[in-house]
């Protein structure tokens, strides 16, 4: 750390400056800002707020399911909660959080002043924000003219014909459609911005081959967003035409097809999973090398594996539809293509292990989350391969086994890396360091809670418990497992409380972090914490993949070996 600071000459930005201005001016600044760092922070905070809301929805469902024949929630409320929980976590938590990190970090990592289109960036953020507000306004506005409904209750994939006016009267489904359409416009705008930024805004010397993997993986994610969000938008326009103009796209009585909605939805829906998890890989690919004190193992292979995951992910969607009854050719194709994704993903896991192998590992909180991610993501991948075999899926499709599988991916994989990233970059964003002990309490409590909930969730699935039931009878052998699952939630909430306390405390009382608390190698650590509005006083010039290593070790720079 001292070494880094002596080389890097920290620029002084007084953190007190912000607090001396009138509150109105500060708020006004945030609302009209086009700065990628402020927008990135707003995206992240937006995601965290909805993470809490979505988490509370899940908690309510787990209270309902903890014991058989429970009457904590009505069936209608339960339907609304699982719909809102799923929709929230994917569209209002996952994507905004990841776009937040991309916004904040991509320009810093590639040595740019801002994103390629700063005003489009602000527009996209406010569109996404509006989408979330529209979706949640349904709780008070969704009843519409017919006095039916409230929040959407058709499930996050809103299968036809349940969404037709006959089965979804009122406006609750319309809030789901319009909310996601609007936030989809924001997602496409931000994805376009990230792609253009990575391709056009790199500083001198920052060739594609020297770019941090974070920037590479976000390039792939955003390219995927461009082509997978639009099919959902198209399908939702069709649904609106059906609901309001009397169209017949998904109207089986007029020759339409309910199955084609599933195809259109999952053409979006499956690549979306990779849109969410690839940024998780990006976090791990930055954090694991720094705390293993080794450059990433197999940089080029990591890029190639990511590109092939992105490519393959476009051809696997119908594995969500094995139970619909497709031809044996379709079943064979989608089984094979889904299993094929396991290959590049496996390569990535071995590369992360290869990075850690023989490294001088520092077990700080971000690294703990990354190590847990490695093991949990492996298990999530293995249950994924089990479900990709269509005969296996016929048995367990739509059971709690599937719910356990994708929560293992999205929490065990994604949320753990998001926490790692939040801990890793918090000192850069706020200029202050969080408390290590509280961080470890967060990690261990959340880890125990996660495994109590989602390890044991596989079991009632195998025992035949279907997803989305609001209650169950006693005597099916599901009671113990559901109780354990619900108890796990308590540990997860406790962990989250430690995290919130830690971050709020650190914001006001944390020790100053300095520019480069982790002795890291990418460009964002070369500027002050928090970075000034202009990011870099002088445009950086890069000669290797680890520009900061070169600065700190002029006697043995990386570029000698490239």
């Amino acid at each position: 750390m001292s070494n880094a600071e002596s080389v890097l000459k920290p620029m002084t930005v007084s953190p007190a400056r912000e607090h001396t201005r009138p509150l109105f001016d500060q708020v006004h600044d945030w609302i009209v800002t086009v700065d990628h760092k402020k927008l990135g922070l707003m995206y992240t905070l937006y995601g965290i707020v909805f993470l809490v809301i979505g988490g509370l929805e899940a908690t309510a469902m787990r209270i309902q399911l903890a014991i058989p024949n429970n009457h904590f929630l009505s069936p209608q409320t339960f339907n609304q909660l699982f719909t809102m929980h799923g929709t929230t976590m994917v569209f209002l938590v996952g994507m905004p959080l990841l776009f937040g990190f991309a916004n904040y970090l991509v320009p810093l990592m590639i040595g740019a002043r801002d994103m390629a289109f700063p005003r489009l960036n602000a527009f996209s953020y406010w569109m996404s924000a509006m989408g979330g507000i529209i979706l949640y306004f349904s709780f008070i506005g969704g009843s519409g003219l017919y006095g039916a409904g409230g929040a959407p209750d058709v499930g996050w994939f809103a299968y036809a014909p349940l969404t037709s006016p006959a089965f979804s009267p009122g406006h609750s489904t319309d809030y789901w459609i319009i909310g996601l359409l609007v936030s989809g416009v924001g997602s496409i705008g931000t994805a376009l911005n990230v792609v253009t930024t990575v391709l056009c805004m790199r500083c001198p010397g920052m060739t594609l081959g020297r770019m941090p993997l974070f920037a590479w993986l976000n390039l792939v994610t955003s390219s995927l967003v461009l082509i997978v969000i639009s099919p959902l938008t198209a399908a939702q326009i069709m649904l609106l035409i059906d609901r309001y103009l009397g169209g017949h796209f998904f109207d089986t009585q007029a020759g339409g097809s309910a199955v084609i909605w599933m195809h259109f939805f999952w053409i979006f829906g499956h690549p979306e999973v990779y849109v969410l998890i690839i940024p998780g890989f990006a976090f791990a690919s930055e954090i694991i090398p720094v705390f293993s004190r080794k450059p990433i193992f197999g940089y080029a292979i990591m890029v190639a594996a990511t590109l092939s995951i992105g490519f393959l992910s476009l051809g696997v969607w119908a594995h969500h539809m094995f139970t619909i009854g497709m031809t044996s050719y379709a079943n064979a194709f989608f089984t094979a293509s889904t299993m094929a994704i396991g290959v590049p993903t496996g390569i990535k896991i071995f590369n992360w292990l290869g990075t850690m192998w023989g490294g001088k590992i520092r077990l700080t909180v971000p690294m703990l989350f990354c190590i847990a991610f490695l093991f949990q993501f492996l298990i999530a991948g293995l249950t994924g391969i089990m479900l990709s075999a269509s005969p296996f899926d016929w048995q367990l499709g739509n059971s709690y086994f599937v719910v356990a599988h994708f929560h293992y991916v999205l929490i065990g994989g994604l949320v753990f890396t998001i926490f790692a990233a939040l801990y890793y970059w918090y000192p850069k964003v706020t200029g202050r360091m969080w408390n290590e002990t509280l961080g470890r309490w967060h990690f261990w409590l959340f880890l125990i809670g996660f495994h109590l909930t989602f390890d044991f969730m596989h079991v009632p699935g195998v025992l035949g418990m279907p997803r989305r039931i609001y209650t169950y009878e006693a005597g099916r052998g599901w009671e113990v497992w559901n109780m354990i699952i619900s108890v796990g939630v308590i540990f997860q909430i406790a962990g989250i409380l430690f995290w919130v306390v830690n971050f709020v405390w650190a914001y006001f009382k944390g020790k100053p972090a300095g520019n480069d608390p982790w002795d890291a190698w990418t460009l964002e650590w070369s500027t002050s914490s928090p970075p000034p509005d202009y990011n870099f006083a002088k445009e950086p010039v890069v000669r290797s993949r680890r520009p900061l290593w070169d600065l700190k070790h002029p006697e043995d720079p990386d570029w000698k070996y490239e």
């Binding site: 994805a191 461009l226 997978v228 099919p231 020759g255």
Partner: protein
């Protein structure tokens, strides 16, 4: 090939075109999937007539906008204005043609968006394209007004070029829609 800051408009527009293409692909797939599956008439063969003149106008507008791009790049603002206006006129003829076609289909042939699956998919796909033409015409007209006020200069050539990419895309989509609606699924 390194991409500099000056290329960002083009890269951004290519991204938008990629996203738009995905939307059109889904509507085209739906059109083809539902072709011939309507439970009642009229059928496409009975009511659809190849819009030869309108299509020629729209395709020609890609040529006129290229001429406008060249004019602005060389700083010949008078020629730019003329070619740009011609582009707007050609685009407008196309939209008026679509409107007349729809009027005939609705009031003479009785084909509406809710009358059959064919009506639903036809009006959605052609309407989605028409919507993009109207959006393009709006953009063209705004630039025309700014040009008439003398605000567009040679240094704006690259921005004009980026906008023209969108117009070319709208024309290219019509090649696909025309082929699908009037030749393949007839």
């Amino acid at each position: 090939m390194p991409l500099g800051h000056e290329m960002r408009g083009r890269v951004g527009m290519w991204c938008l075109i990629a996203a738009e293409s995905a939307i059109f692909s889904i509507f085209v797939v739906a059109y083809l999937y539902y072709a011939g599956k309507s439970l009642n008439g009229p059928t496409p063969r009975e009511v659809l007539h190849l819009p030869v003149f309108d299509s020629i106008c729209l395709f020609s507008s890609s040529f006129t906008i290229v001429m406008a791009e060249r004019a602005v790049a060389q700083g010949k603002m008078r020629f730019f204005g003329i070619w740009w206006l011609l582009t707007i006129v050609l685009g407008a003829i196309f939209i008026v043609g679509t409107a007349r076609e729809w009027y005939h289909l609705i009031y003479v042939d009785g084909l509406t968006i809710s009358s059959s699956l064919f009506g639903t998919t036809y009006y959605s796909l052609v309407g989605l394209h028409a919507f993009h033409v109207i959006a393009g015409l709006t953009g063209l007209s705004i630039i025309m007004i700014v040009t008439a006020l003398g605000q567009v200069k040679q240094e704006h050539a690259s921005r004009i070029e980026v906008f023209a990419m969108y117009w070319h895309f709208v024309d290219a989509v019509w090649v696909v829609v025309l082929t699908v609606v009037y030749f393949i699924a007839i």
